[in-house]
Symmetry: C2
Subunit: 337 residues, 2 copies
DNA sequence: ACTAATTGCTAAATCGGTTTAGCAATGGAG
DNA sequence: CTCCATTGCTAAACCGATTTAGCAATTAGT
């Protein structure tokens, strides 16, 4: 049961490689190969479990039927779910997805893009660190098909599928206001990510819209590296400086987690003392006490749209498509509702 | 800035493809190519950003420098973390990891294995559905390098890295006993997975060891498809039948989650009414009230060991390696401690 | 009966590398 | 001056497919 090549089949059946290849690629009729011959080839191939060597095929066709996916971190549930969806969706169109995590490291991201290009992938989906403009520009200049997801470079014209971050936070603030909260704080991340800035924008917009004051202590930022520790500081500012907040919006799910721990340590009760809404969710956010109110990102839609756009771009050279998806919202007890 | 091939370099520098290839693969000295010539080639290659075509290289070398990873579900945090670790570790040895989710579907798993073999991967790491003996046997017969992780086929002699499931549950029961609980229930999954059976074994062993009775209502099984619903039934049996349980061990993290919801619905308090220990963890298990006591699986070690074994197997044809890793344990409030 | 069209298939180039056997030129030893 | 070693490099086969131009044999058309 050794590996069998097209050559082997051709010799065995006393035909040429060309004929065999044509038939096995379904071009037998088009090339007017006799039905009988076609059957013979197909049967032999099936019987001996013929499998085309993808290297040879790729080399000669210049296509790999693979698309690359680069995300910051596969063990972040948000990206894992996107990855999972993209894989499923891409498979339906016959593509294999190759994915890798950049660990939020631009150099590594660059390296990964290069590795994937070396492997002759046909297209790329990237949730970029957003510190990799040069590489993205290069892809664009190469006219290589790609789609940015979750994060994009506003200054580069590319395909992208992102989420309406500002809108998501607005709905979070709206909900707190609806519950009668007026001194609403916001905890965010020190970050260059557009998405993070937009969330802050959303907070400020929403507060303005409701005519609520934004005290200087209301907006807190912690560093991505040591947010666990800094969160205690941040919470201290929010709940001690006068006026104390009666509601907090956290900019990411893990900030919410850290924030809750911090609130708990101080003996503050949610939502009685402070109502909480989280941007983005975590697996157990409906399990915790109180269950967490969340802005929900349309994970499946991000994946589906990204794949669709990529396939379009790969096939015809479509115009660039830029999508901003609306967030969803789940009200649970943490917001005081 | 077009794509440049070895051919191009050779022509430009009036050398042969062979020389260029040799030099760029670091075999210049060995083949006694003049330093000067080597420099010329390397410089030209760097300057024009030469990148070898991996298809061509793979075709001619018969190696792809890729390893495949097949897991049930990338959006399950347990597997995501393993995948992440494996990717990092494999990269250090110059391998790219291609991964795919089987969705617990044996047919799909088989398909994935085939696809990966077609793509000429050099080795494979599989967390199998355990309903795919034929395929695994086939790999073995082909003498293809692979390692099973998390789940293995006891009747097939293969490399594997699994966890001491029974031992993990024993430590869970031990902890509950230490907290003075004596009527300990166990909620598991209807499943053919060895890992799941072993956990049940562990429960029974531990109860026996402590001389505790296992009432018929103490062991509950729910189906993987509708465990959320059936959990209510299961919990009802555990807490209503006499004698009522005063402690429960859940066989997986998501069973724990569902169980907690169910207990909450009935107004039962953890750990006052029922102490709880979870086999395996979830992201927010330290956030919930009460924080969850967990059996911790050595995720990183699974990944590291699997890669090591795979690399060994790929290089020299080592003897089969079979590893059973010990679990860890985190005590938190849910067990009454 | 002669040309034209159709049928059925193949030869050979190509993709971009790797690798082995060996050639030509130079230097040194005897 | 001849012979052998060494240096520096190359020709050509090979990996396993795809694809195009076109040949030979048969059938159809007039």
């Amino acid at each position: 049961m050794r590996k069998i090549s097209i050559q082997d089949i051709a010799e065995e059946l006393k035909l040429s490689k060309a004929t065999v290849s044509l038939v096995l690629n379904g071009r037998g009729d088009e090339k007017r190969i006799r039905k009988e011959t076609q059957e013979k080839i197909k049967n032999y191939a099936k019987l001996h479990n013929y499998r085309p060597n993808q290297f040879a095929r790729g080399l000669s066709r210049g296509k790999s039927e693979m698309v690359g996916l680069i995300i910051p971190n596969i063990s972040d549930n948000f990206y894992a779910r996107i990855a999972s969806r993209i894989e499923q969706k891409a498979r339906l169109s016959g593509y294999t997805v190759v994915y890798s995590s950049s660990g939020e490291n631009p150099d590594r991201e660059k390296e990964l893009i290069q590795t994937m290009l070396d492997r002759q992938i046909d297209g790329l989906i990237i949730a970029s660190t957003q510190k990799n403009q040069e590489e993205i520009k290069r892809l664009k200049k190469m006219n290589f098909p790609f789609v940015l997801i979750d994060r994009h470079y506003p200054e580069i014209e590319t395909n992208f599928v992102i989420v309406d971050n500002a809108g998501g936070v607005v709905s979070a603030v709206d909900q707190l206001v609806k519950q009668g909260r007026t001194r609403i704080g916001y905890v965010s991340l020190q970050s260059d990510l557009e998405a993070i800035h937009q969330r802050t924008e959303g907070y400020l917009q929403a507060m303005k819209k409701h005519g609520l004051p934004v005290e200087s202590s209301f907006v807190q930022e912690v560093s991505p590296e040591s947010y666990e520790v800094e969160m205690n500081q941040a919470i201290a500012h929010l709940v001690e400086a006068e006026p104390k907040v009666d509601g907090i919006v956290f900019a990411t799910h893990y900030l919410t987690a850290a924030g809750l721990r911090s609130l708990k340590k101080r003996g503050l009760s949610v939502p009685a003392d402070v109502a909480v809404v989280s941007y983005d969710q975590m697996n157990a956010f409906d399990l915790i006490e109180p269950p967490m109110t969340c802005v929900i990102q349309p994970v499946d839609e991000i994946g589906d749209r990204a794949v669709n756009i990529l396939l379009d771009t790969m096939r015809k050279n479509e115009t660039t498509k830029q999508l901003v998806l609306k967030t969803d919202f789940v009200v649970r007890k943490s917001c005081g509702g």
